[in-house]
Amino acid sequence: MTLLMALVIFMAFTLSFAALPFVPSLVEWRRKRDDQPLKIVRRSEVDIRYFARGFRAFVETHFAGLLEASRKTGQEQEGVLEDGTGYVVVGKTEIPRFNDAEQRAKAARRLILSCDRLRLPEATMFLPEIYAVGSVRGGEGNIYRAVLTDEELLLDRESMTLRWVHGGRSVTARTKCILYGRVSADQFIRLERGCRFERLHAPRIEFCFESACVESGGTVGRESDVLKPRDLDRPVEVSAGRWRVEGRLEIKANKIVRADLVATGNARIEPGARIFGSIKSHKDVFVSREVEITGSVVAGRDVHIGRGCRVHGPVLAERAIYFEQGTVIGGAERKTTVGADYVYIAPGSTVHGTVWAHKRGWVISPGEVPENELPERLQKTKSEDEAIGHI
């Protein structure tokens, strides 16, 4: 082998090696197997009723005739769709009839539909969806995949929902229900003490004790002094209708502030204060009792809203939110959003709009939350939070 030949072979090998990564590139460039634009969500993906609407369209497509016939005759009907999905249309009995296998397993494996009211037995698992034109009343300890009703939905004690439920009028969850996924209603949702949840949406969401809800009004508003920036104990930078404080912000009791507030430290609002604006803290926001805030409350860590407070705008925290009894968020004509990884809401509180707990939502008084149920980081920093009167 001559030197020239060796050089040529070496160059060829080197070039081949260098060109190797370009082979799949050239193939993809010429064949264009993935050259379409990325799919983007062109509508609001946080529409909580998305699945309910889809299921309603499915029902109208496949069962409109059957439901109408059932309404006229009152007869129960059973069948199987083309895709193999079994169904039962409940008649006047209002109680679905299970076959032997379902009774043995205590698990319904067919779609359940009703043109009227529906009553469901207790301690049963409903694996397919349920639809009723009238109200749905579920037994204790049931597990539901999804429920859609045009009227009221009652989930009895210790029931569980896996994906979504929607009530055309209302959804009521008795004590210690666990509501995974989406819960929505066109008029109101009522959750009793001990219920756990993820996403809730209704014009009015009530968090109640076991017996009955306390009508809370968010008693706020007293005659107070209007606060000026110079009245604060820290230097305030005033700009574009906003007060910005480096470090901790404290608004004294019964004072009025007509500005947005931003604090790089913790923010503490004393009892009876009224904020005509929004509050943002890079750390925690602690709002004492009977405070009114017309704007939003945003925190880099936690938000604690005291007893009888009223917040008109969104309440957003990057870690946890605590509502004491009697808190009212939003209003009948002013829906809003509460969102955090952890949301603990005391019975007797009301939210108008959406509550979204990414990791854990619980109807419980903040003071009663066991330490092992607190956010992980909060357990480690509890002493620090206690230092600012947080817990």
Binding site: L15, P37, S44, G241, D260, E318, R334, K335, T337
Partner: protein, 712 residues
């Protein structure tokens, strides 16, 4: 075919470049002329007749670098010296990477530091032949005997030793210069320039006369029973190839008496101050390159494994505020209708949404289209025909802002078509009173058009899906991009409004808001399609415009940001690095140039590492960007397009040179770079990126966005 030919040319050029770099390393070592070396003392009698070149391998330890040898024992660089230590009498040995024929000289300057274990310290400078490595030739400096032993291996087994006395009072902390010379089967040894041994006269056994080809191997320095410091080690050789024959006999015959062999200088080399300056510049370049490499990795790893912050995504129910959507349009007849139609269809309370369609001195039918829409929806669409005033998007936005009656204004370029939920998503962050601007994600729509659009699709994915979201996660500085975003009017006016002399009014606004204590928020789920350039010339103009605008912003605000007390350290660090992004291209080119220049100026050891580092940026640095893009495609759930990743190299090269050119020209024209003029006569103009069709696929031209930029 032309594209393929161009591609092949680039690949070949890249290979040639790397081959050249490797070849340069060899040629450089061979290029030292004998005449340039320090003349040898008269006492040296070895001469050769036809030395066309000589090779020297030298390791000076002042730059803190070991040669690529190997050894055992404890070796380290202390105060610019290679210190070997043998505390237990095991001997510390350091082998030097060298194999050569018999015409070779070893040289070192060494100082005995201390003894250990009760035995006086010894220093060895030895080499072996390749057949009988148990025998060695060279010098051994022995403290205990106050002597230097000369070892001379003959016939591959006999070893002749001669001991030369040294000054016993200065054996420690005194520098010794040791030289050992092989030439044509003969050996000469020197201690401090004194010729202490010559095999021709001193050897008691006849020399082998190099009848066989002798190859010396494993030259090494060693320390025994103590510690010693070496200032340098040099291997100076005369090549057998000088005679055109590879046999030892031929080399031996080449050694005659008419020309002395030259010894290299034994004194440490002094660098010229210019070389020192260049070296420090190169160190600075390497440092910056490494910083940006780390930055890319931090962003990518954060995006893959870190906590993702999207604090405003939850807001789906709210008392939505009044908002104005501003749509600046300059000759946008092909697309203005699409965006207005889409805006009328968005999911937002109709009575709270105003659409301000800004016709900025269009010469096509943009005005008529806007008027038609305004007649159709007089409550929702407000036309604004701007027929005079300063040119440029910032000026148009400034005039439009005066007409905005709401506190929140969103800005969409005319060739962006929003989805139904986009306006709510972009408004939601403004419930936070600290938010001054919001930016959504732009997604290329015309991906299928050509290779360029596909590469830009990858680049955008990396820029938004990874870069912007990572900055959001890390509470750093997400960037407002001028479209698919919005600003709080009060905040913007508080910091001075849109700056008309800026070539990148979006970046400028981002930094002024940051300095004013306002945050910019990135909403990764707020996606909107855009048209990306389909011609390389358009891409070049686009990226050069971005580079100029970005650098202009950097010059204006970098020191203000450093001094600013409203911003945290993360924001300062990320803000400065973001400002410097477009400076990195010329800096990288400078680094390459410096490395090559220093290499040829004779900085062998330092430059070797530096050039390796700089050139490795092309692989490691790019790899970091590649990694970012790969992570983005993974997060986007796209699979096949990742195969185009190697082609991003092309985009990198284009960005590198175009950004560098833009930076140099901007600095050359505007001096300090603060001036924002980009027109031929020094005025700001609408420097639009050519577009080839609208969202319906019809042909057209004209686009005025500079949003959606990502790092080059």
């Amino acid at each position: 075919m032309r594209k393929i030919a161009a591609l092949i040319f680039l690949i070949v050029a890249a290979c040639a470049y790397f081959l050249f770099m490797n070849k340069g390393a060899i040629e450089r070592a061979r290029s030292i002329p004998v005449a340039a070396l320090t003349p040898v003392p008269d006492t040296v009698s070895v001469e050769i007749s036809d030395t066309t070149w000589a090779e020297i391998m030298a390791w000076e330890f002042s730059d803190g670098w070991f040669p690529e040898g190997w050894g055992w024992g404890k070796w380290e660089i202390r105060e610019g010296l290679l210190v070997g230590e043998d505390p237990r009498g095991d001997m510390a040995v350091y082998f030097l990477p060298f194999v050569h024929g018999e015409n070779v000289m070893l040289e070192t300057r060494v100082k005995l530091l201390r003894s250990a274990g009760g035995t006086p310290v010894e220093v060895h400078l030895l080499t072996r032949d390749d057949k009988s490595i148990h025998y060695e030739s060279g010098l051994v400096l022995r403290a205990g005997a106050n002597a230097v032993d000369v070892r001379h291996m003959l016939d591959y087994d006999d070893c002749i030793r001669k001991s030369v006395a040294v000054d016993s009072t200065t054996q420690y902390d005194r520098w010794y210069l040791l030289r050992f010379l092989f030439h044509g089967g003969k050996v000469d040894a020197y201690v401090d320039d004194e010729h202490v041994y010559a095999s021709a006269t001193d050897a008691t056994v006849a020399c082998p006369q190099a009848e066989e080809e002798t190859v010396y191997t494993e030259p090494h320095v060693a320390v025994y029973s103590g510690a010693a410091a070496f200032e340098y080690v040099k291997i100076f050789a005369v090549s057998r190839a000088a005679s055109g024959d590879s046999t030892g006999a031929a080399v031996a015959s080449a050694v005659t008496t008419d020309r002395p062999i030259a010894f290299p200088s034994s004194a440490p080399r002094q660098r010229h101050w210019i070389v020192k300056v260049l070296l420090w510049m190169l160190y600075a370049v390497i440092f910056l390159v490494c910083v940006y490499i780390v930055r890319h990795y931090v962003f990518t790893l954060n995006r893959l494994f870190g906590r993702q912050r999207q604090p405003y995504l939850d807001v789906d129910a709210a008392d939505w505020p009044d908002v104005t959507v501003v749509i600046p349009a300059h000759n946008e007849e092909m697309v203005i209708g699409d965006v207005l139609e889409a805006m009328l269809d968005v999911d937002y309370p109709g009575e709270r949404l105003t659409i301000l369609a800004v016709n900025d001195r269009s010469k096509d039918t943009t005005e008529k289209i806007i008027d038609d829409f305004a007649r159709r929806c007089p409550d929702r669409i407000k036309p604004f025909h701007r027929r005079e005033g300063a040119a440029g998007k910032a000026a148009a936005l400034n005039d439009a802002t005066k007409l905005v009656e709401t506190d929140i204004m969103l800005v969409f370029d005319a060739d962006y078509v929003p989805g139904k939920g986009l306006v709510k998503q972009l408004v939601a962050p403004f419930f936070d009173p600290e938010v001054g601007a919001v930016m959504g994600r732009v997604v290329p729509y015309n991906v299928h058009a050509c290779l360029l659009t596909r590469l830009l699709d990858l680049e955008r994915a990396g820029g938004y899906q990874v870069d912007q979201q990572a900055r959001m996660n890390l509470k750093a500085v997400p960037q407002y991009g001028g479209t698919v975003g919005g600003v709080r009017k009060k905040a913007l006016l508080a910091v001075g409004g849109w700056r008309e002399d800026s070539l990148a009014e979006d970046t400028d606004a981002t930094y002024r808001l940051l300095l004013g204590g306002w945050k910019t928020v990135y909403q990764n789920r707020s996606e909107c399609y855009e048209q990306v350039p389909e011609k390389w010339t358009s891409r070049l103009r686009q990226i050069m415009r971005w580079a100029k605008g970005h650098n202009q912003t950097a010059v204006r605000y970098v020191f203000s940001l450093l001094r600013n007390r409203r911003t945290g350290w993360q924001e300062k660090l990320d803000g400065i690095l973001l400002l410097g992004v477009y400076f990195m291209s010329p800096i990288l080119l400078l680094g390459w140039a410096l490395g090559i220049v220093l290499w040829y100026l004779g900085e062998p050891r330092s430059s070797l590492i530096i050039i390796l580092a700089v050139t490795s940026y092309s692989t490691l640095g790019n790899f970091a960007v590649f990694f970012e893009i790969a992570a983005a495609t993974q997060l986007d759930g796209s699979r096949q397009r990742i195969r185009l990743l190697p082609f991003v190299f092309l985009g990198f090269l284009v960005s590198l040179f175009s950004v560098a050119r833009a930076t140099f020209s901007h600095v050359a024209i505007n001096g300090n770079g603060k001036n924002g003029k980009n027109g031929k006569n020094g005025e700001v103009v609408w420097d639009k990126t050519e577009r080839n069709n609208n969202f319906n696929g019809t042909n057209g031209n004209g686009k005025h966005t500079n949003g959606g930029r990502s790092d080059p």
